[in-house]
Symmetry: C3
Subunit: 396 residues, 3 copies
Amino acid sequence: MNAIAKLRPGYRPGYAHVREFYTSPDIYESDIRDYWNRSWIWVGHQSQLKKPGDFITFDYGPESVIIARDRDSGIGAFQNVCRHRGSRLCLEASGNTRVFSCPYHAWTYELTGQLRRAREMGEGFDPADYGLLSLHLRNFEGLLFVCAGDEPPEIDEGLRRLRPLVAPFDLGKTRIAHTATYPVPANWKLAIENYMECYHCGPAHLEFARSHSIKDPAHMNAGLVDKLEARSRAAGVPTGEVTRNDPGAATLFLRRYPLFEGYDTGSRTGAPLAPLLGGLSGFDGGATDMQIGILNNFLIYADHMIGYRFVPTALQETRIEVVWFVREDAEAGRDYDHGDLTWLWHATSLDDERIIRHNQQGVNSHHFVPGPLSEMEWGIAAFYDDYLSVSADQIR
Amino acid sequence: MNAIAKLRPGYRPGYAHVREFYTSPDIYESDIRDYWNRSWIWVGHQSQLKKPGDFITFDYGPESVIIARDRDSGIGAFQNVCRHRGSRLCLEASGNTRVFSCPYHAWTYELTGQLRRAREMGEGFDPADYGLLSLHLRNFEGLLFVCAGDEPPEIDEGLRRLRPLVAPFDLGKTRIAHTATYPVPANWKLAIENYMECYHCGPAHLEFARSHSIKDPAHMNAGLVDKLEARSRAAGVPTGEVTRNDPGAATLFLRRYPLFEGYDTGSRTGAPLAPLLGGLSGFDGGATDMQIGILNNFLIYADHMIGYRFVPTALQETRIEVVWFVREDAEAGRDYDHGDLTWLWHATSLDDERIIRHNQQGVNSHHFVPGPLSEMEWGIAAFYDDYLSVSADQIR
Amino acid sequence: MNAIAKLRPGYRPGYAHVREFYTSPDIYESDIRDYWNRSWIWVGHQSQLKKPGDFITFDYGPESVIIARDRDSGIGAFQNVCRHRGSRLCLEASGNTRVFSCPYHAWTYELTGQLRRAREMGEGFDPADYGLLSLHLRNFEGLLFVCAGDEPPEIDEGLRRLRPLVAPFDLGKTRIAHTATYPVPANWKLAIENYMECYHCGPAHLEFARSHSIKDPAHMNAGLVDKLEARSRAAGVPTGEVTRNDPGAATLFLRRYPLFEGYDTGSRTGAPLAPLLGGLSGFDGGATDMQIGILNNFLIYADHMIGYRFVPTALQETRIEVVWFVREDAEAGRDYDHGDLTWLWHATSLDDERIIRHNQQGVNSHHFVPGPLSEMEWGIAAFYDDYLSVSADQIR
């Protein structure tokens, strides 16, 4: 029986998960091996890979992935592990290269992952048997997702449904304006759970709560939603909603929700921050929550998008990564102010770092008894469901 | 079979304990869960909680406890863990508050631990079900002890016996003059064992050994004990002795032993350090060893008291805490000199940090074979007995 | 079944070893307990122990060993663990002493390891029962080796064969000119495997590869070996070869291989670095690879020797130690330049630190699949064989 299967009896739907979920080294090992390595992971954006030979790497837990643009065959994704004796192959976070040559014994791989050359391997050695292990890859509106599992969660049908709802933002024609990393001494699951619910937004996020109605469902009903719909239609923002929670498929979610009166976007003053995305004709005062696979979360305003991920680095160490996107032709200083653009989610992420850290401290107690989830924490239950369905069928 | 039960066959009474007792992560987990969480722990003094709303917190291992004075019902003790999703609730070491409000989702608790308010919890949620978990608490002469176990070791009968022997010191009317923390890279059990025996005092503690006869039983018989008894009677210090080692009861021990000629108290020169405690009429040249539950140790001179605890923070990390008490009306600078007061046990604790650290280094060797205890190390055997009887019946 | 036995099915001869070999805490525990503690370990040189009372200590993993010269009985080796409650006994790396007195309770041991004195141990305590645990020791040409196991791998027959081949270097009459330590965040087995093969020398060691033919077997055949043999004979360097891989015996290996044209020794320019060792009459342009037990490796040039060891300090922390030896009468500044002497292997060790670190990063991936060894990596297979045969018969 694997570590996750052992936890199942302790889990009570509608309640928080048990202590061991966040404290057990075996569970953490399984988190990577059975969940992350079989889930879709957002690793970057096509704007980072414009020319043949451009590459980026993305690390999580003990894993590292290379994403590279080949001369002919487009973008591919590979395990960043030499097929000889396992050295980390590519040591840089990004760059441009003709080949990947291992720093240990110089086994050399093409941009397609094929092994080009290995010295002194004797007869009977066929380089074709030792190409880099490849990952599944999807490019959705420029956002790149990989999955290391043999049978990735079905995602294409969901992406088809999402596409018309995000097309007008033209996310493929954005670029990264800023990336910030917030290390937090807590298990990654507490970090992602924090993102999954806005029950804490009122008490914990003053800046966010001032502008975003999601903190309080009661407010949202007060006509705000109807007003948003009208403004969205006028500005060219589609208004539908997508929820996909089918077993065996990647969780997908999209919904636009209203900012408070006076806020065009997620800024300190409510004023616009950057040029309108894609083909929008104006600000609708809304924000789109978009989830593509449980692990990958985005927030799309009319003039910028933010991506969030909660990357495990050890049992109780997580790297919260926040990435700001603007139109690809927007220039800092001219079209947007860097400090203004990043103000809200920098402040909010610092809050999150603090509350997630304290959550871990309390959960570490042997006296922690998982309590009932509030009506605003359904997102956490959805995460538990996905986690348990993906991980627990891995009998080891 | 639990981790402790597995160790039992390797334990040979009269000898040191085996390597795994100090090196195994499973044993350390059990140390907290099965021993500390079921033992009486000294957490503070009533002088820290004078006004309604005053609180302190005390942390050990992954645990944290709040001790607070309510408006009506006196002092209470609670697990510092929110009943919702387990956040650490109170983040300060001490302070004054009206309520405890969780920094995560603002669940708010009364000073009595009752849940006052939780938003958006839906129908059927009864706040009465979600008060903070409370701990047993005893106030003995102002010293506060808690126990998290359902059935704490019986302690009241022992405290009844101790009371007349400490009453004249009037410990309830003392206050904390200084707290020092000595982190040591060793398992907490090696730290407490070090305190349990004075076999090492001669070789390792020059300053202590110069003044305290306990380092050498041979010296103690040389008339010193008789002389002390006469002086104690004259000064108003009771002279009895208490030892309680009954199964199911908290270990208790009290004995006054003589300092060497010329020493009125535990000072560098032998001269008094502070105003006489309670109703004493003079210095008797003695020191009282007092243990209230194995984990909590005190040393009472005629003019000050010192409390010691050996707080686990990780498998091989311990926080030695030393707390100096003087009369509540004594003023630093006027009635005592801070440096003089703390000199002896600061020097002695630095020694202890060093020898405990080296003990751990040696015990980590696979070649460590537990050797025989000397005639001066009976206190260690008493610790082993208590530990094994409290922990080993927890079959898991 | 012990941790090592569990790995066996995953091991495929001719291929690298599996991930768990380098990532499992249980395997690491076994590395020390079952392999290091039963293998011959090079701990020092007789030049460090000239006078009675001279001692050195050597630490690996959680272990520490004292090597001391007695007044009468020569050099002995002992576990650096007090027989009482296990304190580390000797706290210094080297020195001169009359006795070893424990810093905790002053149990005092002779230079022979015998317990001289222990206070307050009561009747029936016989000091003869509590001498320090001793280790097997061999002095080969001044190099000191210890083994903690009850039945050390047979080594004397191999040393007999080695002796005539190294005698002319007179290694007993050398001294340590420099010791350098390179900490690397990797399992010690990856560090030793790195030393076992020169497949990486071409791509990874520019300085070494310029002068040492071993990086490339093709070059070595081009007459270099024949030339070396003639020069060696002329200079008084024996030319034989030893390989011993018998089950139950310590692995031994000795072979002299040629430097490239123009290199008299392992120097930056090829020029000599120090006075010729022992009775040599000139430089032969060769270097002797010598292995005495898998763990202990030496490289002997005509004018200096270097010793290498790869000392575990934690699961993924290793101390690479490099020790330079010159004639005992050579003086820095006069007979050799310290910077020139250490240049090559300082540069090479920095390279190694880097590539071993990256190897560990890649091996940590769940996607690491052990690949085939090249024709130049037979030394790694020999290491695996020795490791498995020594460790796997320890059923626990």
